[in-house]
């Protein structure tokens, strides 16, 4: 048991708990309305939006999984960097437009927008359910991040006692999300970022210095790991896989419900545009964290007797916690570990709020209780945020860890299939609800089949084009199928005169 680290960890945790509860009164609004509880009243300025979106997208799982990928898979794992570079130009082009439409009609979710734009509750339902299903394992992975650092503090990790610290963390998270809504993660995100920046800067300065610089570190990595293997015999191999992973993940990121929630809570389109200029600052941090995977590899910490049991249990995921434990005094380990744990609570709160918004708006109010009052609607969302988190907790406690990772991988493939509806809704008159629904179903079906063919272990599928073999991200290929099916069936409907012209949302 690492006492100094545990004390620091618990103190920081208490601090953000108090912050979470006070935040209900921050820029107070009537928390009986869904856009107040679930979107912070759409009043977050540039700074808070920067922290909130940063806290939302760069999750604890990122801090644990990205170095783990590099540690295990080498250069391929670095796709996380181009992925976050691609996100912001795309976001700059699309999101301000979505914000304006959403504000105009008081939309709280992306599915709300689809409901209004295409006048189809069923397409909206498809989007809402896809969003909820994709979000659940994502929350579960945040809890896994907490589990890894709690294990690293030396707590027992098996049986009921082993789950107890996680249950407590989860209870705190549930309570302040319930009372304060989106204001809680927005405020805590500021603390989380400070802790993360301190930890990463310390790691990236101190550890390479102790090991004789990056030249030494990269010299210790096998050459085959440092670069992507060159294409051979017309097989593009890792090259096309790397690019498709980056592009597919970038497209998927903005479609996740928690991203929509953070985006819609900004106070205007200019706030979002400014944020696209400055959010890449987080990606710099991400790149440094990724390199820490190599640092851990070169330091050989997986073979050290005191850390080997952790690596046996958590595999490569212990790369970053292991570096902290090996190179830093205990009290700083507490700071670093709480950065990861708090970094898990922020997105987990936003994700559960986003999933709750989706359920309440696009399932409950649409299909169960059409005439419900705003108070009733908000109450429902608050309860759902608890249900969603509880579901994620059951995942972590009762299913093997691998399930959560595999489901999250599947979640990315699923969420990508909501892209055509959103983009068509914003920019095109060609599509109608039934064609988009058909495309969604086709993309989903193929995506799940292709993932199943790898036994849900990988997200790669090799397409054969003449003499070429082009391995790529399943989600991206499924999206192509989705788009082709939707476009063709929309054309077919037009040809038989069944489809009315569909005015685009804004600006046409």
């Amino acid at each position: 048991m690492n006492w100094p680290a545990t004390v620091v960890f618990v103190c920081l945790f208490l601090f953000i708990t108090i912050l979470g509860f006070i935040s209900a009164r921050w820029r107070a609004g009537d928390l009986n309305h869904l856009h107040e509880w679930g979107l912070g009243g759409r009043r977050f300025g540039s700074w808070i939006t920067w922290f909130l979106i940063g806290g939302d997208l760069y999750t604890a799982y990122t801090f644990v999984a990205v170095p783990a990928l590099i540690f295990g898979a080498g250069a391929l794992g670095f796709f996380a960097l181009p992925y976050t570079i691609l996100v912001y130009p795309l976001a700059f082009a699309v999101l301000p437009r979505l914000w304006v439409v959403a504000r105009e009609h008081n939309y709280v979710t992306a599915a709300d927008f689809i409901r209004g734009r295409f006048d189809s509750p069923w397409l909206a339902l498809a989007l809402a359910l896809t969003g909820i299903v994709a979000t659940m394992p994502y929350i579960a992975l945040q809890l896994v991040g907490i589990q890894v650092v709690i294990g690293g503090l030396g707590f027992p990790t098996h049986g009921f006692i082993g789950d107890l610290p996680l249950l407590i963390a989860f209870g705190i998270l549930a309570a302040y999300t319930y009372t304060s809504g989106l204001r809680a993660p927005a405020m805590i995100a500021v603390v989380k970022d400070l802790l993360i920046y301190i930890t990463v800067l310390a790691l990236i300065v101190v550890v390479p210095l102790k090991m004789g610089g990056f030249g030494q570190i990269f010299a210790a990595i096998p050459r085959a790991k440092v670069l992507l293997p060159a294409p051979s015999n017309g097989n593009l191999g890792m090259m096309s896989y790397y690019a498709s992973l980056a592009l597919g993940s970038a497209l998927a990121l903005m479609l996740y419900p928690h991203a929509t929630t953070a985006v819609l809570s900004a106070n205007g389109p200019e706030t979002l545009r400014r944020n696209c200029v400055f959010l890449p600052a987080y990606s710099l941090m991400l790149g440094l964290i990724a390199l820490l995977g190599y640092v851990a590899y070169a330091a050989g910490i997986a073979r050290l007797p005191d850390l080997a049991p952790y690596f046996a249990q958590y595999k490569a995921q212990f790369a970053l916690p292991g570096l902290l434990l090996h190179f830093f005094p205990s009290w700083f380990v507490g700071v670093g570990f709480s950065a990861v744990a708090i970094g898990a609570l922020v997105p987990a709160a936003i994700m559960s709020i986003a999933a709750a918004n989706l359920f309440t708006r696009n399932v409950y109010r649409e299909f169960v209780h059409r005439t419900c009052s705003p108070e009733r609607e908000t109450q429902m969302a608050k309860l759902m945020s608890l249900v969603v988190k509880f579901g994620a907790l059951l995942f972590v406690v009762f299913l093997p860890l691998n399930y959560a990772i595999q489901l999250q991988l599947l979640g990315g493939i699923l969420i990508l299939q909501t892209l055509p509806a959103i983009i068509a809704g914003l920019y095109s008159r060609w599509f109608d609800a039934s064609s988009l629904l058909l495309g969604w179903a086709a993309g989903l079906a193929w995506g799940i089949w292709a993932a199943h063919a790898t036994a849900f272990q990988k997200s790669v599928y090799a397409v054969h084009l003449g003499h070429f073999v082009v391995p790529g991200y399943i989600g991206l290929y499924a999206l192509v199928i989705n788009l082709v099916v939707a476009t063709l069936s929309a054309g077919l409907l037009r040809a038989v005169g069944k489809s009315a012209d569909n005015a685009a949302a804004v600006g046409n």
Binding site: I85, L86, L227, C276, V277
Partner: protein, 74 residues
Amino acid sequence: MTPPSVRPLGWLQIVLLGVPCVAVIIPPLFNRIDPTLWGVPFFYWWQMLWVPLSGLFIGIAHKTWTIQNREGTR
């Protein structure tokens, strides 16, 4: 009339936003060890370099778009 805050982007902005995307999505362009920078292989520092550069390009796209809009509404 479309409010100025949602005017579509022009060609200039689309090109500006496209440059950082192209720079990092074609791995054969940067899948090399040399030249290294402070011991870090080209593959890694090239992509890291594009993080601040992408911010710069998006910033220029934003500025030019704002200026064009202002002229358009006069």
